[in-house]
Assembly symmetry: C2
Homo-oligomer: 409 residues x 2
DNA sequence: ACCATTTGGTCAAGAGGAGCACAAACCCGG
DNA sequence: CCGGGTTTGTGCTCCTCTTGACCAAATGGT
């Protein structure tokens, strides 16, 4: 049982770590800033900022450049930027429809992103791991000596135990307690930590950091893929729950008169708004996958009655569940990802109306419902963020335990 | 719109504040500790603890006493305890059935607690404020010079905006935008801050700090009074939401085929498990209040069929809503307060069964459902905690701005 | 060219915890 | 009752990290 954390005494180094962390985080999330802007943002003195940046430059995490003349009087302040060319995260995604790999630099630059389709079939962990490694290998050769890979983040379409990188349950991949993390770590031999998380959690993380929810502290993110997943952000932090299953909104009961769900219950949200429900209701092949959904959305755009009706149904039930979440959590923003992001242009108003009809006035007045901005790549971008997290939390740790640099593999 | 907080640079004083805070918090929550236990708990050195405690003793927040010989070898470590005799919080409660006042010492000792019944009628803010002040006055005379009152916490049966102490909406008191906080501050003339919050939020806070949920970081608290309220605790902190309306679970839609609710929607949780629903279903006077509920529970205990059926109904629907919350939040503990606490001995098993039937396996396996431990006084105890919070967060602030002590009023 | 303005560089000062040596207070055994 | 073992308080210096003051550098405006 998770009892309340042991009190931990603070010391001077704690302060240093926190200050280094907030500088790197700021540069990573908001992009390059001048030294004087950092002074303003943090409230620290110029001397302190100087010292901190010096340490970060020595660690090759940031670099300073002469800034363009700004037209204002006074000595120009050099621009500080994250060394996205040098400090890298490898992001992977094991989705139902596709596998993907991305190489992302500190600061968020996506150096490379490759996605390959895959058939919707159950395969072993080993096969998926091999395919992912195959996707990564050619890229590894291009890494220059001196490039520092800080970690590997993996987005998985399933329930993941983060502590040990085991996929507890991934019905659409056919896995149960699959050790994907260890498997990837062994095959890649990169000697950096591998972090796994659920694709919806990471999609939400990505939208929160670099997408539609940037800057918002109270966010409900709901993503429609084969299943329905979500990430609830409260006070700026994802709600993980006692065992990491927080935010699993797909199996919220919404319709007692509804259909049986794969989870054993009846009337789960997923049975009303999931991809399968959408396709069936529109008279499409329920196993048609992403292609069928695209076709459906196209048809609805051209006014096909059945397609439109299916979307309206999803919109209405999306509203029911969102109202519940809004009443409970009082978010400022709802971000729709995956399929919901794609259908938003067509039925955004219907979703909005259905939601407002059922949510409490004071909460509903405040909230905005918006589509995500990152599309299908949200989860893999979130995976990169996951891999960067330890560096952001304690940038000096890298300086302390500096590895000789990544060989050309 | 609440954007993510500005990065704030840390300095040495931040460390001091954090360390002072964790010591006072530890003593406040866990009771007296020896100096060496504090060393172990915080990980700080003996020297550091010594300095910190010295500062707290100077501020009259804690005191040291020779401890009883413990039978172990080694120099005995003095016992450090919060000065609950000296540092006080005043807690008030404006409930539908009663008004209450409590004087609570740092560390949680309840020096005095008085509750008076009140008829269920709409009255003005001024009347309630006057009644509360009348309850407090006699006690003020007994305060010794030197006693330090740190704040006033008020639990209100309604939706409260914490920032300015305005009761936005309290249907059962008949208020809308009532400035109870200001009104109390004026009448009491105590020159300390007045903090208002919702009774369910404070009930949850109290159970989390000193009741059934002590030590748990992921908690769902649901309280049945006239309405149904709740407090969701994630990562050890109450989930407040963007405007402070987080945790308002009473109007979660659970039954699309259900009854219309006062809020305008249909099938809110409250319409199935609220006090009124319980009484009506048991064939009692829906406006019978606390007395009618007590009678009902008594009757059910003796096996009256109708009373039992009503309780079973509540238990079943309690399960539906709890399952939703459990699936979404993955708590380790569900605490039932108010009426639900009282009916737990009778229908605890039914609640448990109904909940488990509908919640996802991995989340359900972990969670325990327990009744609260603080009974009707949970909210007022939470109100005292609310008033103490600023002192716990920054104990040194009191030292810096020391007031001459409270006169005999 | 000169001045106001803004910012970087340097260094001493202040805050605060760590670490160490020593003393104090307890238990126990003879 | 006395000495050894053990644990903890006390007092001191050292180390880390930020602040603040002073001066130099770089830019725009007149």
């Amino acid at each position: 049982m998770t009892t309340s954390r042991d009190v931990v005494g603070q010391r001077s180094e704690t302060v240093r770590r926190a200050n280094l962390s907030s500088i790197v985080r700021e540069l990573h999330l908001r992009g390059p800033l001048s030294r004087s802007e950092l002074v303003a943002r943090t409230g620290l003195t110029r001397s302190a900022i100087r010292g901190l940046i010096g340490e970060l430059v020595a660690a090759d995490l940031v670099e300073e450049r002469r800034s363009e003349p700004a037209g204002t009087p006074g000595r120009p302040s050099p621009e500080v930027r994250a060394r996205g060319d040098q400090t890298l995260a490898l992001a992977l995604e094991a989705n139902v429809d596709s596998l993907a790999m991305a190489l992302v630099g500190l600061g968020g630059t996506v150096h490379r992103l490759e996605r390959v389709d895959r058939p919707r079939a159950h395969v072993t962990v080993d096969e998926i791991a091999d395919d992912l490694v195959g996707l990564v290998r050619p890229m590894l050769g291009d890494l220059r000596s001196g490039d520092a890979l800080v970690g590997i983040g993996v987005a998985v379409a399933g329930v993941v135990r983060r502590s040990d990188g085991i996929v507890r349950h991934a019905p659409n991949l056919g896995w149960r307690d699959a050790p994907l993390g260890d498997r990837l770590a062994e095959s890649l031999e990169l000697d950096v930590p591998v972090w796994l998380a659920n694709e919806a959690d990471l999609g939400g993380l990505a939208e929160h950091r670099r997408g539609a929810a940037a800057g918002a502290d109270e966010v409900v993110y709901v993503m429609g893929e084969v299943g329905v997943g979500g990430n609830l952000i409260a006070a700026g932090r994802p709600l993980v729950g006692a065992a990491g299953y927080g935010g699993e909104v797909g199996h919220m009961p919404v319709n007692p008169e509804g259909l049986p769900c794969g989870c054993g219950a009846v009337g789960c949200w997923e049975t009303e708004i999931g991809e399968r429900a959408l396709l069936v209701r529109a008279g499409r092949d329920p196993d048609g996958g992403r292609a069928a959904v695209s076709e459906l959305i196209g048809a609805a755009g051209e006014g096909e009655a059945r397609a439109c009706a299916a979307l309206e149904h999803v919109a209405a039930w999306l509203g029911v569940g969102l109202a519940t979440l809004i009443n409970i959590l009082n978010p400022q923003l709802v971000v729709l990802g995956g399929v919901f992001e794609r259908i938003h242009p067509l039925v955004g108003d219907a979703i909005e109306a259905a939601t407002r009809r059922r949510s409490l006035r004071p909460s509903a007045d405040l909230v905005r419902i918006v589509p995500g901005q990152l599309g299908v790549d949200a989860p893999i971008i979130g995976a990169a963020e996951l891999a960067f997290e330890p560096v952001l939390a304690d940038p000096a740790a890298r300086l302390r335990s500096r590895v000789p640099a990544l060989a050309s593999a």
